[in-house]
């Protein structure tokens, strides 16, 4: 997969660009000819003016604009002198900032990638468990509270005998049983939802009940229940179109990590690294990343 990736022209371009860039940073080369020349362009002035009005809610006066330009010139001179004096070298804040900017390049590249549909479908197939919809159940139940009756199980069984022949649940549930602790009608719940609401045993049994029929009594962590299962939707792989965006997002995130690590590998290969006192050390290519979401 990584190998295929490195063939992408765009990645090659980026890697080359990064190499040049990184080399420049490493050796401190810059264009000395332009060091004593400062051009404040019309575009720059417009930018300064726009920043000002964003901050203050009004346009800068002529004096204020002049002051902004003076400040810009001063900043530029100080910056260049500091760089010329190599004050930026080994400064951890500057190093971190530059690394951050480099990271933005990776983001940018990964955003430009246009995955094909077969590519995304393959990704879905390889990462199925991250997208799969668990089975859900919708039901109505009659609740028999152990707090309110001496033998909830017997009461439930007796009622089920009477209800067995009914083909419609409609008027019944409201007239029998006790006020349930959970809602009377449960819609599209997963087994984990039911474990939370009724306990693990009930959650397991509920999914095994026939549909459109009053069930035999089922004990839960709360009491005893008769279930009218409206519908059980088995677990399923979502339609490609409905999760395409999610797949693409995860795919893109993965590609970004791959580009970064491949590029770092390239950059690293151009360096000779020596570490005092640790003879066997080998540089790590992927510093402890946690990619899973």
């Amino acid at each position: 997969m990584i190998r295929a990736f490195l063939k992408e022209p765009l990645v090659h371009f980026l890697a080359m660009g990064l190499l040049v860039y990184a080399f420049g940073v490493a050796t401190g080369e810059s264009a000395p000819a332009a060091r004593h020349e400062i051009i404040i362009s019309q575009g720059k002035i417009q930018q300064l003016a726009a920043n000002y009005s964003r901050s203050w809610g009004r346009s800068a006066t002529a004096d204020e604009l002049q002051a902004l330009i003076d400040q810009e010139i001063k900043d530029t001179i100080y910056y260049r002198e500091a760089v010329a004096m190599e004050l930026d070298k080994s400064d951890p804040v500057i190093m971190r900032r530059l690394r951050q900017k480099l990271g933005l390049l990776y983001d940018d590249v990964s955003l430009r990638l246009k995955p094909t549909e077969p590519e995304l479908r393959r990704y879905l197939a390889e990462n199925l468990q991250r997208f799969i919809h668990p089975a859900t159940i919708s039901f109505e139940h009659i609740y028999f509270s152990p707090d309110r009756r001496p033998s909830p199980l017997a009461d439930a069984a007796a009622l089920q005998q009477r209800l067995r022949s009914w083909i419609s649940k409609s008027p019944v549930a409201n007239n029998y049983g006790d006020i349930p602790v959970q809602a009377r009608v449960i819609k599209s719940a997963t087994q984990q939802d039911l474990t939370r609401m009724f306990g693990a045993n009930f959650a397991e049994k509920a999914f095994k009940q026939p549909q459109q029929l009053w069930s035999a009594p089922i004990a839960s962590g709360l009491g005893v229940h008769l279930l009218w299962v409206e519908e059980i939707t088995p677990s399923k792989v979502p339609a490609f179109a409905s999760v395409r965006q999610d797949i693409e997002r995860l795919w893109r995130y993965e590609q970004r990590e791959k580009i970064e690590s491949a590029t770092y590998k390239k950059l690293l290969s151009a360096y000779h690294v020596e570490i005092d006192s640790v003879s066997v050390y080998k540089p790590q290519l992927t510093p402890s990343a946690n990619n899973e979401t």
Binding site: P146, V181, Q192, G221, L222, G223, V278, P283, E292
Partner: protein, 618 residues
């Protein structure tokens, strides 16, 4: 100026509540843990934990997770919210020391690459200990290291935040323990976008007032936060001491700052319960519960002080209310895991230890101890499976859950998902609970847990006591409910008192009118199989109650304890698994429970209530 600002903040917060209350007036119980450690905590790393915070988040939201012991664990019911609170002191130092790009790699990191792993590990930890003592960071570990680690912690919290499904917070633990006495606090930020550049550690200061200054500074910048103190039981009475950190008397300003910064207290966790202690709660048969009266420093037994425990602190708080006109200990209750293995299992039937490689097998848990010279044998078996926090919130989001923390509408649980309701009002009808929508009436007419009931002069004139309403539903994956208790504390003439009322009994039993206790409901546990008596205990329990000894002139607090039928303690399950007898140093069974935040009653002082006196200062 300072306090004015803080008070503005709390006004903003309480006005926020009202809009929510209209949206979802009866609120939902969400469960979470506010306390956990990964390999970013140097002690956890020392215990052999090499896992990043990611693993803990995935485990808490319900995924299968790798345990340090080399097996897979999973929660029966996922948590709704979670946060990691790695120790701020040299946070992430092991990660930094193993990173070749960090200067610490060549510094303290060299120990971690020694061929003799044990020797290297010991040297590493020794260097950390030295650094903590001297206040000088180990070689190569810089303020930048801290900032980077903290940034990664915040990022990880954001990564797992799924509003409506699973809420996470940016958090850390401030681990101050002057003279070995535990003053730890967990710090939680409401908003991850505006967190400070780095956490505040005990190497910055060991004084709680300094932590408050840091927190207040952050709040002034618009990022609300709280600190949650814990393990008063291991503080040698220092957690709720009756003077400030400099030995000066507690003032109104101190009380206000403490409540503003520390609205909650973690009453239970891995290292024991800090509700009360049998040596001063003689009337309370349920006080001997998961106690751990040891020093966190030496792990030797220490004499228990009242000022290490929440119930006593509440009483001292009332006394301060009378003497200085402000209560410094007006905190709500919650609980946590304090796991150091990156995956905690609050469930008694699913406990896998809390100190990584020190207790990741039944053998180590039953026979092992804390590896310190002079520590007692079998300390591991005394550790509890830890607790979780319940909040009553409108929705599962940072804003909603944090608002519940702020208004103290919280409860602590020994690990089970019991859902307790608790309200007080002068206006409740005797038959309130027969109403179909009694909950919305309770919210409209009363105050929920964590709230204040102030004197109603017209009602009090008729010598009427307020009504308390309690209701609880059991955890469908644990045992049935046995009883609901209301615990009252008050002070009179400088003396402090408490009384415990069973207000609802299971199995249609009635509390004894003399002792106010429910009769035994006959529930028992088979210690061999850990099966429990069927048909004993209740799914729901409720009561509407009036304090028979209500005195309108005396300030008082009332909190609820809901107690389950007994189940096997985790150590009994471990013993069964190994085919040995349960150890006698701990009970074979426990009665899991929840504790709600109190409702405080405040009478008139000098003709006006304390609240209106404070309001007039604005």
């Amino acid at each position: 100026m300072y306090f004015r600002l803080l008070c503005c903040l709390c006004l903003v917060l309480s006005s926020g509540q009202f809009t929510y209350a209209n949206k979802h007036s009866t609120r939902t119980a969400y469960f979470g843990d506010t306390h956990g450690h990964s390999s970013l905590s140097s002690d956890a790393f020392g215990f052999g934990n090499n896992l990043p915070p990611d693993n803990a988040y995935r485990f808490a939201r319900g995924d299968k997770a790798e345990h340090i012991g080399g097996y897979t664990i999973q929660l029966k019911v996922p948590l709704d919210f979670f946060m990691m609170t790695d120790h701020a002191e040299m946070i992430g130092i092991a990660k930094v020391a193993m990173d070749p790009k960090s200067p610490a790699y060549k510094g303290i990191g060299k120990y971690l690459r020694m061929a003799d792993k044990n020797k290297g590990g010991a040297k590493f930890l020794f260097a950390l200990q030295e650094a903590t003592g001297s206040g000088v960071y180990p070689e190569g570990y810089t303020p930048d290291s801290i900032k980077n680690v903290w940034a990664s912690i915040v990022k990880t919290a954001d990564k797992y935040y799924k509003p409506g499904k699973f809420t996470t917070f940016a958090a850390f633990e401030w681990s101050s323990m002057p003279e070995g006495e535990n003053l730890h606090r967990n710090v939680i930020f409401k908003n991850s976008k505006r967190v400070p550049e780095q956490p505040f550690s005990a190497m910055d200061s060991t004084i709680p007032e300094d932590l408050w200054t840091y927190l207040e500074g952050e709040r002034a910048k618009g990022n609300d936060n709280i600190a949650i103190s814990h393990n008063g039981n291991m503080s040698n009475g220092r957690m709720f001491q009756l003077v400030d950190s400099y030995g000066a008397p507690i003032t109104k300003a101190y009380a206000q700052r403490r409540n503003e910064n520390e609205p909650l207290f973690e009453i239970m966790q891995l290292k024991g319960v800090s509700e009360t202690h049998p040596s001063f709660a003689e009337e309370d048969e349920f006080a001997d519960f998961e106690l751990l009266p040891y020093s966190l420093h030496t792990w030797q037994r220490i004499e228990q002080q009242k000022t290490g425990y929440a119930r006593e602190a509440y009483k001292f708080g009332l006394r301060f209310q009378q003497t200085i006109g402000a209560n410094p200990f007006k905190f709500g209750l919650q609980a946590g895991g304090d796991d150091h293995g990156t995956a905690h299992t609050w469930e008694e039937f699913n406990y896998h230890g809390g100190h990584a490689s020190l207790d990741n097998s039944p053998e180590k848990r039953l026979n092992g101890t804390i590896p310190l010279p002079g520590a007692e044998k079998n300390l591991n078996v005394r550790l509890s499976a830890g607790g979780i926090t319940g909040v009553w919130a409108e929705e599962n989001t940072r804003a909603s859950i944090f608002a519940a923390f702020r208004r103290k509408e919280t409860f602590a649980s020994s690990g089970v998902r019991i859902k307790p309701r608790f309200f007080a009002s002068w206006y409740f009808d005797e038959h309130l609970m027969a109403q179909k929508n009694w909950l919305s009436t309770a919210y409209k007419q009363g105050v929920p847990m964590g709230g204040d009931l102030v004197l109603n002069p017209s009602k009090a004139a008729k010598n009427t006591a307020p009504h308390f309403v309690v209701y609880a539903v059991r955890d469908p994956n644990s045992a049935a409910l046995q009883r609901i208790q209301i615990i009252k504390g008050w002070t009179k003439g400088g003396e402090m008192y408490e009384h415990i009322y069973d207000v609802a009994c299971s199995d249609n039993l009635q509390p004894d009118p003399e002792t106010h206790r429910c009769p035994d409901n006959g529930a028992s546990v088979n210690l061999k199989t850990c099966s429990i008596t069927k048909n004993k205990g209740n799914t729901e329990l409720s009561a509407i109650w009036r304090d028979p000894a209500f005195d309108k002139k005396l300030p008082a607090f009332y909190y609820v304890r809901v107690i389950e039928n007994p189940v096997c303690r985790w150590s009994t399950r471990d013993a069964n698994q190994l085919g040995v007898q349960p150890l006698a140093v701990v009970p074979a069974t426990i009665q899991e429970r929840v504790w709600t935040s109190p409702i405080w009653y405040t009478p008139l002082i000098h003709g006006e209530s304390v609240e209106s006196a404070q309001a007039s200062e604005l």
